[in-house]
């Protein structure tokens, strides 16, 4: 098959002659620069104006975000639950456990912080309180697990595992309520 040639591309010979880097001065309409300046200024102003205001999603979007936040927290609780299960079988070294538990705890913290920063729509204050409360409980529980793992307090693991299972049930229940009738 022959070579692909595109009209206007410089030939190799011109490169070897050393003219390849010779820039042709380009003209830019003066108005184009003004438009750019105005657009950038507008963007900066709008960012500055909205930076301090909390996010105010509509009801459906807010419910979606609550759903996602609960799923994320549930995933982290399940991760730590699996971790303790594997620890029971002596399959995970202590330092690895610490890192995974800390990662899960900080992930829940980030999720909570992100969701709490969203402005709940009118009439959803109770849901907001319920969702943030259950996430807060999960965060506290993951902190307890992390403390136990760092201290190698293996005696506490069976109780913590039960609490993690209960917590997952609560998170699932809260998610179901979000999907309940009237939503």
């Amino acid at each position: 098959m022959g070579a692909v040639r595109v009209k206007g591309w410089p030939s190799r010979e011109r490169w070897h002659e050393g003219v390849a880097f010779a820039e042709v001065p380009t003209r830019r309409p003066h108005g184009g620069r003004q438009v750019t300046v105005v657009a950038v200024a507008g963007l900066v102003l709008s960012l500055a104006a909205t930076a301090c205001a909390p996010q105010s999603p509509d009801r459906s979007s807010w419910i979606d975000q609550a759903h996602t936040a609960l799923d994320d927290v549930s995933s982290e609780v399940a991760t730590v639950s699996l971790l303790l299960h594997l620890q029971d079988e002596d399959k995970v070294p202590g330092k690895y456990q610490q890192v995974v538990a800390q990662d899960s705890e900080s992930a829940v913290g980030k999720t909570m912080s992100k969701f709490s920063g969203e402005q709940p729509p009118e009439g959803e204050d109770d849901t907001y309180r319920d969702v943030t409360a259950v996430m807060s409980e999960a965060s506290d529980l993951l902190a307890e697990v992390r403390i136990a793992i760092v201290r190698r307090a293996t005696g506490e693991y069976p109780t913590l595992r039960e609490q993690l299972v209960t917590m997952q049930d609560q998170l699932t229940q809260q998610t179901d309520e979000l999907e309940g009738p009237g939503r």
């Binding site: 692909v4 591309w9 699996l82 610490q98």
Partner: protein, 409 residues
């Protein structure tokens, strides 16, 4: 015997070097959520990287010059600059992600804060790029990366329902609780992870470093067409393990520690230790490759002396670029940005930059003035053209899907 050893070594390093932090994270995320439903994307992505790696390797072997060198010469400084800008941005972002990946992998062993490890990794990567020989970097990291085969062993040990996995892979079945748009987002992310631009630039420049000639074409093709697909099987093993262990528990992967849990479940502490060795080798090897690729791309575009096969004082620009890139990547990570997030972003933006990266390679590999009798044949051109369409589709869809799905949530 020497030739057989060279081919075997090349294939093994290609397998071990195929997986990087993007593949580790994306395949585990996709596996936990979709099982092997998106295995076809890995297959298409691996075939795509084989097509373009073979082209760029052939260009290097026949012309004795690397891809960027020829792209600038053949397509002119403007198109070359566009190509450079797009691929450099992604390669640098990938470099950041890989250094972060090494730090996260070491954190799993050391259990200290990742920000304490990042500067050490930055220094170590720079030292290796400065002092170590090219073949040493490529072979050691590639061979140690083979430790990731532990995922295939773990999948076997977990004893999944193979027929169900095969059914998923063949029918591309979407789990009921997932949206099509989320699936489409992960299709693009997986495709971007498999076809990361740096792999081609590293492969092509590496060919020049190792002074390939047309006689080396069979070895190069064996590396590409055997090594890369076997590397792709490692990616599928990671996804399979995640589906079997993490999927039923509804765990979505957002940390490297979670990626290793299925191996621990299957093989215990020893298996996990091997997996961590694989994480470190894969990410460290990829950090070296991306760091070198940054140096290669810029030095080749600006016509400076480059490469590990010349002494550092003869390639000062090349080594200065690597030093600055390593400092910048380390500084970026020290802002406490999440390396996993950087990885997720880099694989999606990789998809955006693919057309600008791969189109010039197709053009150069088609030029009989450079390639002579080794110019692209009918099959290479057909595959190359089909992939250009796929790549264009992925590039257009990547950003809208990222926004629409809030990065796959």
């Amino acid at each position: 015997v020497k030739n057989i050893f060279a081919v075997a070594l090349g294939i093994l390093t290609a397998i071990g070097g195929f997986v990087d932090i993007g593949d580790l994270v994306t395949n585990a995320q996709v596996g936990a959520r979709f099982g092997l439903s998106l295995a076809w994307v890995v297959v298409i992505g691996v075939l795509g990287i084989c097509v373009f790696a073979e082209m760029s390797g052939r260009v290097a072997a026949v012309s004795g010059r690397a891809t960027f060198d020829l792209v600038r010469e053949r397509l002119g400084p403007r198109v070359g600059l566009l190509n450079l800008a797009a691929s450099m941005l992604i390669t640098f972002l990938t470099f950041v992600a890989e250094i972060g990946g090494v730090a996260l992998s070491l954190q799993l062993v050391a259990s200290v804060h990742v920000l304490l490890i990042v500067p050490l990794v930055g220094v170590l990567v720079w030292l290796v790029l400065w002092r170590a020989k090219f073949s040493l970097i490529e072979n050691v990291a590639g061979l140690l990366g083979l430790a990731l085969i532990v995922f295939a062993v773990a999948l076997w040990q977990l004893g999944p329902d193979w027929s169900a996995l095969a059914h998923q892979a063949v029918t591309a079945d979407k789990p009921e609780d997932e949206h099509w748009r989320t699936m489409a987002y992960y299709v693009v992310a997986l495709f971007g992870a498999a076809m990361t631009p740096y792999e081609v630039f590293f492969f092509s420049s590496g060919g020049v470093e190792e002074r390939w000639t047309p006689k080396d074409l069979p070895t190069m093709r064996a590396n590409v067409f055997i090594g890369f697909p076997l590397g792709g099987l490692l990616s599928l093993s990671i996804a399979g393990c995640a589906w079997v262990v993490l999927g039923p528990l509804q765990i979505s992967v957002d940390s490297l520690g979670q990626v290793g849990l299925p191996v621990a479940a299957a093989l215990g502490k020893i298996g996990l230790a091997v997996a961590i060795l694989g994480f470190v080798a894969a990410t460290f090897g990829a950090a070296c490759e991306t760091g070198l690729s940054v140096g290669y791309s810029l030095a080749q575009y600006f016509g400076a002396q480059w490469g590990k096969y010349v002494r550092p004082h003869e390639a000062t620009v090349f080594h200065a670029i690597i030093l600055i890139a390593t400092l910048a990547a380390t500084a970026f990570l020290m802002t406490a940005v999440d390396p996993i997030l950087v990885t997720e972003v880099s694989v999606v933006f990789s998809a955006v930059a693919l057309p600008l990266t791969y189109f010039p390679i197709l053009v150069v590999a088609n030029d009989p003035d450079y390639m002579g009798q080794h110019v692209n044949g009918r099959l290479a051109n057909t595959l190359g053209s089909v992939y250009m369409v796929l790549i264009a589709g992925a590039a257009v869809a990547a950003i809208p899907l990222m926004i629409w799905t809030r990065m796959g949530q």
